[in-house]
Symmetry: C2
Subunit: 166 residues, 2 copies
């Protein structure tokens, strides 16, 4: 059975299997997904649309690479970004909840972190919002393994967090 | 010199070189880029944020997988989508110009196509908007090579179109 068609050479096999499981479960439950990404820059959205037959579980994605994009596309308050930093629990939660408000998806996952620079390379905050339920937060310290490793590890955590909400 | 750190195993070498060239030229010219993607589902945005040191040329990305997302995030009129089809010259142009209106980027690139299903698998429309200049359009028929091949070919055309506007 085909997995992630475009990204497969760049992904660990276990992640491909989990993505298919996530998308199949979402389709079965008739639930849709949205993403709000900073350091992964659209990689999670591209993964969720890469598996033939189940990509319609994906509703829309926000690639909010700049502070202005986080504020304008998701309604993250600029003073929260300034006070807490773009890579923070507060901004991750505001991004995920903003993606819920600005989409019709049932579950929204946000990622904001330092891919390979910043105060602590490999520090990534995640939040997963679900309608009429509390938003979950996770903080990971992947270490200074570089942009590629941090982004792939971030996909793994993001898929796990969404699976937990299905 | 490092190229696309996460996506490298999935990309042809020539595309990696072109992406770095695009991002370096954009940084030198102090121009920023935005994306509006349907069939590529965020893959172009993830590519433009995957090269260390030059990713700040990317401003924001819209992953508008559904008709509603195209209308709500980019202002593409729903009657145009209904009349012309989501995979059409008119929608590609409206997506690129919508991405300009809804960002501060200098150049916006849109992609809408049939990845591996639809009326003609491999048919993809592209548009590239630049502030105070006419929007360019391109139509490609990549054939029924599957989702992965269509998406990679789409990246190649998208990067070429943006390079032409720098």
């Amino acid at each position: 059975m085909s997995e992630a068609e475009t990204l497969s050479p760049a992904l660990p096999t276990v992640l491909e299997k989990k993505v298919r499981m996530l998308l199949e479960k979402a389709c079965e439950a008739d639930l849709t997904l949205a993403t709000a990404e900073s350091c992964t820059g659209g990689l999670l959205a591209s993964l969720l649309t890469d598996v033939p037959g189940v990509a319609h579980a994906f509703e829309r994605g926000f690639v909010t690479y700049t502070d202005e994009a986080k504020a304008e596309m998701l309604g993250v308050p600029l003073d929260v970004i300034k006070d807490k930093g773009a890579v923070s629990k507060e901004v991750a939660i505001a991004m995920a909840e903003g993606a819920m408000r600005h989409s019709s998806a049932d579950i929204a996952l946000s990622i904001t972190g330092y891919a390979d620079a910043g105060d602590e390379p490999g520090l990534v905050h995640f939040a997963c919002a679900r309608r009429n339920a509390p938003t979950h937060h996770r903080e990971e310290h992947f270490g200074a393994g570089g942009r590629g490793a941090t982004r792939i590890e971030s996909l793994r955590v993001a898929v796990e967090m969404m699976l937990e909400r299905l």
